[in-house]
């Protein structure tokens, strides 16, 4: 894990390996990281949910990828970038229930075609870019409520 500290920004970059053995590990780490900060529980939960779904996607469909979490004063961004097969038709992939998952993924209780719609549901803004044969990039933003903004100096 690579960590950068700016004055007000904390950036964590987590490498994600393809394959199921470690699926879910990064989201646990992200949750633990955010728990140390003064953030509301439901915000931490949303970031962890979004991260877990993005991580499952990388583990299921890509050779490797990274998840970058940036904690800014007013919002948190989660960026998931992978080197994978890419998505042919994003509009179709966004439909709840549409899935190209293998039986192995489904046997873990994922791959039901709900991942991307869950990601969209739990983030305030969501962007997806994908190129077939190269990979997929997701970027999610979750606002931190005003009461939890750091005091102005």
């Amino acid at each position: 894990m690579h960590v950068t500290f700016h004055e007000k920004i904390i950036e964590h970059i987590y490498p994600v390996k393809g394959g199921f053995e470690n699926a879910g590990r990064v989201s646990g780490q992200v949750k633990a990281l955010l728990a140390k900060r003064n953030l509301p529980k439901d915000i931490i939960r949303r970031v962890a949910i979004v991260t877990l779904e993005a991580e499952m996607n990388i583990c299921s469909y890509a050779r490797r990828g990274t998840i970058t979490v940036r904690v800014m004063p007013h919002f948190i961004t989660i960026e998931a970038v992978d080197e994978g097969q890419g998505i042919k038709d994003i509009e179709q992939a966004m439909i709840e229930g549409y899935s190209t998952a293998t039986d192995q993924i489904r046997s873990l209780g994922f791959g039901a075609g709900l991942g991307l719609s869950n990601i969209k549901k739990f983030s305030d803004t969501f962007r997806i870019i994908s190129e077939v044969g190269k990979g997929t990039r997701l970027k999610m933003l979750i606002h931190i409520p005003k009461e939890f903004h750091p005091p102005k100096t």
């Binding site: 989201s27 949750k31 939960r45 873990l108 209780g109 709900l114 991942g115 869950n118 549901k121």
Partner: protein, 124 residues
């Protein structure tokens, strides 16, 4: 209701968390689809599921699930047990099928962590 009582109602076997049976639970969620668990389960709820892989524990950790009840007599994988121990999440197994297990808990006062889906962002 204490977790100990849940164990007795379901005639369940404790796999992880013998020392955590005093935990108080009031709500539950039952599903085999982890994406639905992520979308709808609430912190502090019981999770009833037939899935036994470590991702169940990871998902429960992310959601602050109080305890996991494996239904239909499922036995967890050894990695699952190890992870539950590491993250201190109680793990029980019951021979009741999901329908019977939730019915018995409901009859004793445990409620769904939500009643119906609707508000997509219901995070209360």
């Amino acid at each position: 209701m204490k977790l100990q009582e849940v164990k007795e109602i379901l005639d369940a076997e404790i796999i992880v968390g013998k020392d955590l049976m005093n935990m108080e639970v009031r709500t539950a969620f039952g599903a085999d689809l982890m994406s639905d668990v992520l979308a709808f389960a609430k912190p502090g709820s019981l999770l009833l599921t037939g899935l036994t892989n470590p991702q169940v524990i990871r998902t429960s950790d992310v959601l602050d699930i109080a305890a996991i009840i494996l239904v239909r007599g499922k036995r967890p994988l050894s990695e699952t047990i190890q992870l539950a121990e590491e993250l201190r999440i109680p793990l029980l197994t019951t021979k009741f099928i999901l329908f019977e297990a939730v019915g018995r808990l409901y009859a004793k006062g445990i409620r769904g962590c939500i009643e119906k889906v609707g508000d997509a962002r219901d995070l209360s």
